[in-house]
């Protein structure tokens, strides 16, 4: 019922956006009396329509696939009656200087409602008290055994591989060192592995610290941008990124692709592409929720997105042969094209269009076109946000941030992405640039 209402709202918004578009063409007619302004206004109007067309087509395609994915029956989560047959799960926690968070993370893992699992913490040569704070949990008697391993610093991918090599489970769940996993997440993840074609399941990452404006906007982005895309891709079993905060993998699938590589800064994206290239299905389970902290300050957010962008571009470059392998590995091909479009083309179009309208407004006084552009984007984004919030059963308060999502938040991120793309093309050196933990997370009670 709620989804249907949201669908109607969305369609109404698209219709209104189209009507606004038709009206602004009429405005262009008025400006066309002056030859130069009329020509430029005409060009701007065409650019505007093309961009809106691309955006609307993108939203409609994602929403259509997401709705189809939602209509398919989801596997039932593992229940108490099935406990005897529950596959053994190993949870790998790579940790580097996670002293503020490691106790909260381990407490949340001990509270997990799943009968057969173990936790392997891999301290990747931390210089703080991560190891000392994790060690008492190894000695604690509980149903869920915890092992704490320590190794020389080798990077997140190395810590994950080290943990995977020590894992006894047939299903490996990888999380981040600051992830709080909800109690029932494993039951939802594990259910998909009855299908022998499924190699990995992506969890649902939710931002927990929403009081600050930046982190609130990221919470909305995770729902509208990342969650919607994963739902759509899951319809084809081709989710392009199993996120670092929560991902479940079949151990044989990981062995098939030699687990994580260390030659990019987006090891989660790289691993997912390797799985898709080998023909494994990668799906999304929105009910398997993990809570994470999002950056609250401008520079911290831009540093994170800089790393994500350069890491993604590194993976796209590494796997460039996959762009033309539609017959050999169609899922990898689709995933690469989708992320190439989202990660590079769309930011260029978005910032470019914004520049065109600003120049048109300043140099030629075509402010009214810019107003129509904003109104149309606003309606499209607000309607999509409402739909996604309803479907994901998220807090309605996120909808208040929808008007600022594209016209402010995405512009800031897209400019940072373009800077990162230039650095990647120029092969500027980079480090992991780890963000300081804010300590906003605590285990769910």
């Amino acid at each position: 019922m709620v989804s249907r209402l949201a669908s109607i709202v969305f369609l109404a918004a698209v219709t209104l956006a189209a009507a606004l578009g038709a009206h602004h063409f009429a405005v262009v007619e008025v400006h066309s009396e002056a030859p130069i302004e009329g020509t430029v206004a005409g060009v701007i109007a065409v650019v505007m329509f093309l961009f809106l067309l691309i955006l609307a087509a993108r939203y409609l395609l994602l929403l259509g696939l997401a709705a189809y994915s939602q209509s398919q029956p989801a596997p039932q989560p593992w229940s108490i009656a099935d406990d005897g047959d529950a596959p053994f799960v190993s949870i790998i926690v790579p940790a580097f200087n996670e002293a503020p968070m490691i106790r909260s993370v381990l407490e949340s893992l001990l509270a997990i409602d799943y009968p057969r699992c173990e936790v392997i913490v891999v301290d990747d040569g931390s210089s703080d008290q991560t190891f000392l704070r994790a060690l008492p949990y190894q000695q604690r008697r509980s149903e869920i055994g915890i092992r704490v391993l320590v190794k020389a610093n080798g990077g997140k991918f190395d810590a994950l591989n080290h943990g995977i090599a020590q894992a006894r489970g047939e299903i490996i769940v990888c999380i981040d060192g600051d992830s709080i996993v909800e109690r029932d997440a494993l039951r939802y993840l594990v259910a998909y592995f009855d299908d022998p074609n499924v190699g990995a399941v992506a969890g649902n990452v939710r931002v927990v610290n929403r009081a600050a404006i930046w982190s609130g906007l990221q919470a909305l982005e995770y729902v509208v941008g990342l969650g919607l895309a994963k739902r759509a891709q899951s319809a084809a079993g081709a989710v392009s990124i199993v996120p670092g905060p929560l991902g479940a993998f079949r151990k044989t699938a990981l062995a098939d692709v030699n687990a994580y590589d260390g030659d990019t800064f987006a090891e989660d994206f790289d691993l997912t592409m390797k799985l898709l290239a080998m023909g494994w299905h990668v799906v999304y389970e929105p009910r398997a929720v993990v809570l994470t902290e999002a950056p609250e300050h401008t520079l911290d957010l831009l540093r994170q997105r800089y790393r994500w962008t350069r890491g993604s571009l590194q993976v796209l470059a590494k796997r460039k042969a996959g762009f033309f392998s539609l017959r050999r590995s169609p899922m990898e091909c689709l995933g690469l094209w989708y992320l190439g479009f989202e990660g590079l083309c769309l930011p260029v179009l978005h910032v470019g269009a914004q520049l065109v309208f600003i120049i048109g407004g300043l140099a030629l006084g075509l402010h009214d076109l810019l107003l129509y552009w904003w109104l149309q984007l606003l309606f499209l984004d607000c309607a999509t946000a409402l739909y996604c919030i309803c479907v994901e059963d998220e807090s309605p308060r996120l909808a208040l941030l929808a008007p600022f999502f594209r016209v402010f938040y995405l512009i800031v991120l897209d400019v940072a992405r373009l800077f990162a793309a230039f650095d990647e093309l120029a092969r500027v050196g980079m480090s992991w640039d780890k963000l300081a933990r804010l300590g906003r997370l605590s285990p769910a009670t």
Partner: protein, 63 residues
């Protein structure tokens, strides 16, 4: 009505420009901050041919 429309369209133009300027400024600040630790690391390492200016005190051997 026209005056409201003109006001809104000028406001949108201003906000668009301000957003773009803010985005570029923040990105440049982020890039500069990223490059600073690398510059400090390079400055902290002395050049290989630097003269050893400090000598460890070696006490005289006892008789």
């Amino acid at each position: 009505m026209d005056s409201i429309f003109i006001f809104l369209s000028n406001l949108v133009l201003f906000l668009s420009l301000a957003t773009l300027v803010f985005a570029v400024g923040a990105s440049v600040a982020m890039m500069l901050k990223r490059r600073q630790p690398q510059r400090r690391k390079r400055e902290a390492v002395p050049p290989p041919d630097a003269a050893q200016l400090l000598r460890r005190y070696v006490p005289p051997e006892p008789d």
